[in-house]
Symmetry: C2
Subunit: 210 residues, 2 copies
């Protein structure tokens, strides 16, 4: 079982690049081409594939169509993934309006909040009371949730999600969530990303200056 997050992210990148190559009319690809497109080494590409038992054709490279099928299976993209969002504020709203998920086979099935002013059952993506989270998650067999609430509410929401049966959480709140070990958390923290950039900009600047 491969649990190297970077490796899985590379698989996603390969997949995205392959779609681009396919739409340009390409049918086959060499590890070298894919490596260039994604920004890694050719050996890394082959090693990653080898890890997942994906094989190509010596001297002939990889057939894009079948490669995509395999990657999509590994990445769970052979079916539409339904997710829920908790938090109908600025961020939750932006996520609901964002149309990049659809073409990736990800569907926001509903949004939940505690503020009745936000409720809207008639909307394309319904906004429902948080009390209905559990039932909705069960009824729709949902396993992925997005936390888009202020940090003070995040811990409680994480617990509600976990109790409801959600097994993967994308967390936008800038705090560490504690969940059972069978729940996976990916954090998106813009302050951290910016802070990180600042550090690297600073040290690279100093290095050049010397």
């Amino acid at each position: 079982m491969i649990t190297n997050k970077n490796c899985i992210i590379r698989l996603s990148r390969y997949k995205n690049s392959l779609y681009r190559l396919q739409s340009l009319g390409f049918v086959k690809v060499f590890s070298e081409n894919l490596a260039d497109a994604v920004g890694v080494t050719a050996a890394q590409v082959r090693k990653d594939f080898s890890l997942f038992g994906i094989s190509g054709n010596r001297r002939g490279g990889y057939e894009i169509g079948s490669l995509l099928e395999k990657l999509n299976t590994i990445l769970g993209k052979d079916q539409v993934q339904k997710v829920v969002v908790v938090g109908a504020g600025h961020l939750g709203g932006a996520l609901m309006r964002y149309n990049g998920f659809e073409k990736e086979g990800i569907k926001i099935a509903a949004c939940f909040d505690i503020d009745p002013a936000t409720y809207d059952r008639a909307s394309r993506i319904p906004v429902l009371p948080i009390e209905e989270l559990r039932a909705f998650v069960k009824d729709n067999a949902i396993r992925i949730g997005i936390i888009a609430v202020p940090d003070v509410a995040a811990a409680q929401v994480a617990e509600q999600m976990s109790n409801a049966g959600i097994r993967g959480i994308l967390n936008f709140a800038p705090i560490r969530l504690k969940v059972p070990e069978d729940v996976t958390i990916n954090n998106v923290n813009l302050e951290l990303e910016l802070e990180n950039l600042i550090y690297f900009v600073n040290i690279l600047n100093k290095t050049k200056a010397k």
Copy 2:
């Protein structure tokens, strides 16, 4: 020169946890406590500090105040960091309204777009024509930029930023940007994060099932 991104992110996390501990009235902290708060091992905390020449007091732990000073210096938080956003759409708008940056000493100085309908020089955060990016960046000595435009425009914006003198880019567009090597890029890609979650939820599920 430490160039391990994860290590720098841990420093940010230590810093955030330390502020929390400080606000609870704590004055000193042990590597063990910090480790618990951040979710790493105590040895990792000490090793990270050691890497940056930060030392505590054997048997007495670390004094939170001076530790924070050192971390803030390393992370470039001893002065307010001004950044620009390019793209005044949903995402750019949400970023401008987001008030989490301010308390981290990060200030969005201006936003740029190509659509005259978005221009607003009188706003708290002015929205300006992209043509003015270069002059603004120079005049305000800005080094960090956020790309919040659709993917088709991202490559061009990255080039404009890089030419204008920006040295760190936070990129929300789901494509790989090519920039000179003295420009650092951090990508935020929600589709990728979700896809990644799906993978881990799937494999953990299978593992448990067997």
